[in-house]
């Protein structure tokens, strides 16, 4: 069991991002530890936060600290590619695979570009491990993204996010484009990442998924952090009421 340590701390954050202002209604405050999953049900606000974390937003107030022993302010390092690479893995929603490279080359690209392989090594073991972990069948590895099903592309995007094993994962709608039968597999994968000590921040509009995967949820109405138990409780949140309503309807059928 890995001892949880603070990976990300955001305090009183407001920022100007390419997607619009972040924290316009209330500044963002959150702390994320290793082995923890936080889900934003307000996906648009979360995407702005993601942009700010990866250095594409301008901090107006507050700060973002990464890793308890190595606190760094994002504004000072927003163009430090090495820092982003070592600390943040980004799982795109749908687009973002390089169309003229194969699935394996796509996942392998960050490792190759940043020289993660020893000289002479050509086996792409990091990429192969990530693709295997995400369950991408070997027959698709040498195909280009436009020639595979969208669910394979999605898995490749997630594999690329974890290929360098960054401590912080930002996942944009991991359930989008995933077939329903694959959802338990996705949940198991997220659980396995938690066990390995990844800190995961997710933008998601899938309420049941959020209830099943999150340690805490940012409620879209109040913009406040609730534990997953509170989130599921109809007395606490509208999301909880919605989930309760959904389960009632299922029972009635």
């Amino acid at each position: 069991m890995i001892t949880p340590k603070q990976i990300l701390k955001i305090k009183n954050l407001t920022a100007a991002t390419p997607l619009g202002p972040l924290g316009a209604t209330a500044p963002v405050n959150l702390t994320l530890h290793s082995g923890e999953v936080g889900i934003f049900l307000n996906d648009r606000e979360c995407r702005k936060l993601f942009r700010t974390i990866i250095g594409q937003g301008k901090l107006l107030t507050g700060n973002i600290d990464f890793l308890d022993n190595n606190s760094r302010n994002i504004t000072a390092n927003d163009k430090d590619a090495g820092f982003l690479l070592k600390n943040v893995g980004f799982g795109f929603r749908d687009l973002g695979l390089i169309s003229n490279r194969t699935i394996l080359e796509n996942v392998d690209l960050p490792a190759r570009y940043h020289n993660y392989y020893k000289k002479g090594s050509s086996d792409s073991h990091l990429a192969k491990a990530a693709l295997t972990e995400l369950g991408v069948p070997r027959k698709y590895w040498d195909k280009r993204p436009p020639h595979v099903a969208i669910s394979i592309r999605k898995r490749a995007l997630l594999a690329r996010a974890i290929v360098l094993r960054p401590p912080l994962l930002l996942l944009d709608e991991p359930t989008a484009l995933v077939e329903s039968p694959m959802l338990p597999e996705l949940l198991s994968w997220i659980d396995s990442l938690k066990d390995k000590g990844f800190a995961i921040l997710i933008a998601c509009t899938d309420y049941p998924f959020a209830g099943a995967a999150a340690d805490w949820v940012v409620d879209p109405d109040s913009n406040k952090i609730t534990t997953s138990e509170e989130y599921m409780d109809p007395a606490w949140t509208k999301s909880g009421a919605l989930l309760k309503d959904l389960s009632n309807r299922l029972v009635m059928r």
Binding site: K79, A81, L85, G96, R160
Partner: protein, 248 residues
């Protein structure tokens, strides 16, 4: 969406091992698409060009009664002026448009975004190989054009005047000097560098909407033709300014 990374001149020269390896891979792909694949077309156009030019020059000179100036005219007009311009127009139509479209599409597909997030310097990874590959290809295509043009010229002159190949080659070689070669390479090299740089700039200027891709491509082509003409005329004007001691 604006790019997060900023261009620095050193980005044109990737040094780190991983970045360098990817640079060469992309560079070779660019040379393959821009030069190798255009060899048949360049050879064909150059050949026809040679037949046409030598026939016209020969006819005009025989009318004026100064047939022995044919080599001089082929070097000055064709080698120094028309071949670099033709190579530029050919590659602008064929490859500059492709580079601008590709980069614009990459932006729409969020591939540029992905590179930035993966910590990949897009100037080293995408732009430098395209610019250097385009420059080398421009020079190489111009050389293919010239070689094919010479062949066409000789066939044309041989059919009308029974001119042996060694005499023709000697005639051309006697007229080409270092200045001509310098002008040829500076025109083709500089044009290649600038127009491919412009194509990259235009491609990355896209705001993120797919409907803008044709607009960006058209802009890249029109701007490139204008810039190419300006470069060609400027180098010729500079040569005459220097060789005659100023514009007379």
């Amino acid at each position: 969406m604006q790019l997060n990374q900023r261009f620095a001149l050193m980005d044109l020269f990737p040094i780190a091992r991983g970045a360098r390896r990817e640079f060469f891979r992309n560079f070779l792909m660019q040379v393959y698409f821009t030069f190798v694949q255009s060899i048949p077309m360049a050879a064909f156009i150059g050949f026809l060009f040679g037949i046409l030019c030598s026939y016209q020059i020969s006819q005009s000179l025989s009318f004026l009664g100064s047939q022995n100036h044919i080599y001089q005219l082929l070097v000055i007009v064709v080698f120094r002026e028309l071949i670099p311009l033709t190579a530029a127009l050919l590659l602008i139509a064929r490859s500059v448009s492709a580079v601008a479209t590709e980069l614009a599409t990459n932006k729409v597909q969020r591939e540029i975004d992905a590179y930035e997030i993966m910590g990949i310097n897009i100037y080293k990874f995408l732009l430098a190989p395209r610019i250097w590959g385009g420059t080398i290809s421009m020079v190489s295509v111009a050389m293919i054009l010239w070689a094919a043009c010479l062949l066409g010229s000789w066939l044309s002159l041989n059919s009308s005047k029974n001119l042996p190949l060694p005499i023709f080659i000697n005639g051309i070689a006697s007229q080409i000097n270092m200045i001509d070669i310098l002008i040829f390479f500076s025109k083709t090299g500089l044009t290649g560098f600038v127009v491919f740089g412009l194509a990259c700039h235009r491609g990355l200027q896209l705001d993120g909407a797919a409907f803008q891709i044709p607009q960006v491509t058209t802009k890249a082509i029109v701007d490139s033709i204008t810039i190419a003409l300006i470069i060609q005329v400027s180098i010729t004007a500079l040569y005459y300014a220097v060789s005659t001691g100023g514009f007379q």
